[in-house]
């Protein structure tokens, strides 16, 4: 079955003023849609059509570049929309808060590490919070790679992903990637991250 563009779990303007309406419209409706369309074209008629996007990513070294680029693009953006929400931000609670404290010492340290992972990723890519051997860790990947991929430098199960392609912030923040990353924490959906952590374990 062909992959489909997931609907956004909120309106395009719901993340204003931190992420603007036009950016959300183009990011979801054009960029993500193109990844889905190109992924479907790249796997048409192959066995990959029967697999989940996670299973494709886990064996990505067996596929040609268009599957890696567009399959990654589809998985990463699908996660990204869910880990943001209107009226979100704040502090995580419960098991997630405990896991963050034990891995990083504090929420602020985690944020700083993710901000650094995002700002130091040269060119296009993603910053990640992953579960690795039951513990939380921070890493980044180039382009549309992700930590599920067997070719990733750092592997694990992503529970939070931040898009640092210029298209994610350029209309509103232009060259100021650090400002975008700072604003992201106002829309981070910790409930979803907590849910992702539970599923990853």
């Amino acid at each position: 079955m062909a992959f489909e563009l997931p609907t956004l779990p909120y309106a395009h303007n719901a993340l204003e003023p931190h992420i603007d309406t036009k950016t959300m419209e183009i990011h979801h409706g054009k960029h993500h849609q193109a990844y889905v369309t190109n992924l479907n074209n790249a796997i048409a008629g192959s066995d990959a059509e029967k697999l989940s996007i996670e299973d494709i990513c886990k064996n990505i070294s067996k596929y040609p570049a268009p599957v890696r680029n567009n399959g990654g693009g589809h998985f990463n953006h699908s996660l990204f929309w869910k880990v943001m929400a209107p009226n979100a931000g704040g502090n995580p609670t419960g098991d997630l808060a405990a896991a963050i404290d034990s891995a990083f010492g504090s929420l602020d340290t985690l944020k700083t590490q993710l901000n650094t992972a995002g700002t130091t990723r040269f060119g296009s890519g993603w910053a990640w919070l992953i579960v690795q051997n039951g513990k939380l860790a921070v890493c980044s990947t180039p382009n549309q790679d992700n930590p599920l991929m067997d070719i990733a430098e750092v592997k694990g199960t992503p529970i939070l992903g931040i898009d640092v392609w210029e298209h994610a912030y350029y209309l509103h923040y232009q060259n100021r990637r650090p400002d975008y990353l700072a604003a992201f924490w106002n829309v981070v959906n910790w409930n979803q991250v907590a849910e992702n952590l539970k599923n990853a374990k």
Partner: protein, 249 residues
């Protein structure tokens, strides 16, 4: 060399510069001269080995093809950051080498030198390789490079098609290139701020024409439509400059 000797060389070099500056200012006052010499010394100790080149045209000069805001941010923010970060990465280690020279052995340097040195070189080239075309007239290759393009790629249209494709297919951030490898014209692309001068690049040769396909080069005007940016950009190519580079190879 002892520290004293190095200090002396540095000071005398700064003094010479100060004297030149004072002369240029039409000042013969010795106190003032020493003051200038000191501030130049301070400047060269703290900052710029490489500097941001001025654009050879105004920010709005490439309208309607590339908008003023894009040019302004691209030059004064992105390119400026590459220059600043390159100087920071070299941290006084470079006093004499040209950017081309540094890139030719970049595999031995920090990643920051590769990224920002590439960024500085590529953008310096990119600005030179464009010129205003306010009426958006068709702009085919001219001179010797036109002949070389025809004999290498069959026709100008075929060349344009292949070069545009190189820019379109570069996934993520990067550059499309026309370059000369052993005097042969080739088309290729590089990721991020890599370029064909780098000893660790996938393609190697002398750059003749460069197109920035980072999203920052077109996003304000074209958003996700990189193809529109690439297709429109051809009207801006400064073929005189391309010929100048071609004559050197």
């Amino acid at each position: 060399m002892t520290n004293d000797r190095r200090g002396f060389l540095k000071k005398s070099a700064a003094f010479t510069l100060g004297a030149v500056a004072a002369q240029a200012l039409g000042s013969a006052n010795l106190n003032e001269l020493e003051h200038i010499s000191e501030s130049i010394q301070q400047l060269s100790a703290e900052a710029a080995i490489f500097t941001l080149p001025e654009l050879p045209y105004a920010y709005e000069a490439l309208e309607p093809i590339i908008d003023k805001q894009t040019m302004e941010i691209h030059h004064s923010r992105h390119h400026k950051a590459y220059v600043d970060n390159l100087n920071k990465a070299l941290d006084g280690k470079n006093n004499t080498r040209s950017i081309e020279d540094i890139l030719s052995t970049v595999s031995k340097e920090d990643k920051a030198v590769r990224n920002n040195g590439g960024g500085h070189y590529n953008h310096s080239l990119f600005w030179m390789l464009m010129k205003p075309n306010p009426e958006n007239k068709t702009n085919p290759a001219t001179g010797k490079i036109a002949e070389a393009i025809n004999s290498s790629f069959g026709s100008f249209d075929e060349f344009k098609k292949q070069f545009s494709e190189a820019g379109m297919k570069r996934f993520g951030s990067g550059w499309a290139w026309l370059y000369a490898e052993n005097k042969k014209l080739k088309i290729g692309s590089t990721p991020n701020q890599d370029n064909p001068l780098m000893d660790n690049a996938e393609i190697k040769g002398a750059p003749l024409l460069a197109l920035d396909v980072w999203e920052h080069a077109y996003y304000l005007k074209h958003q996700n439509k990189r193809a529109d940016y690439v297709n429109n950009w051809w009207a801006l190519v400064n073929w005189d400059k391309v010929n100048e580079f071609y004559e050197k190879v």
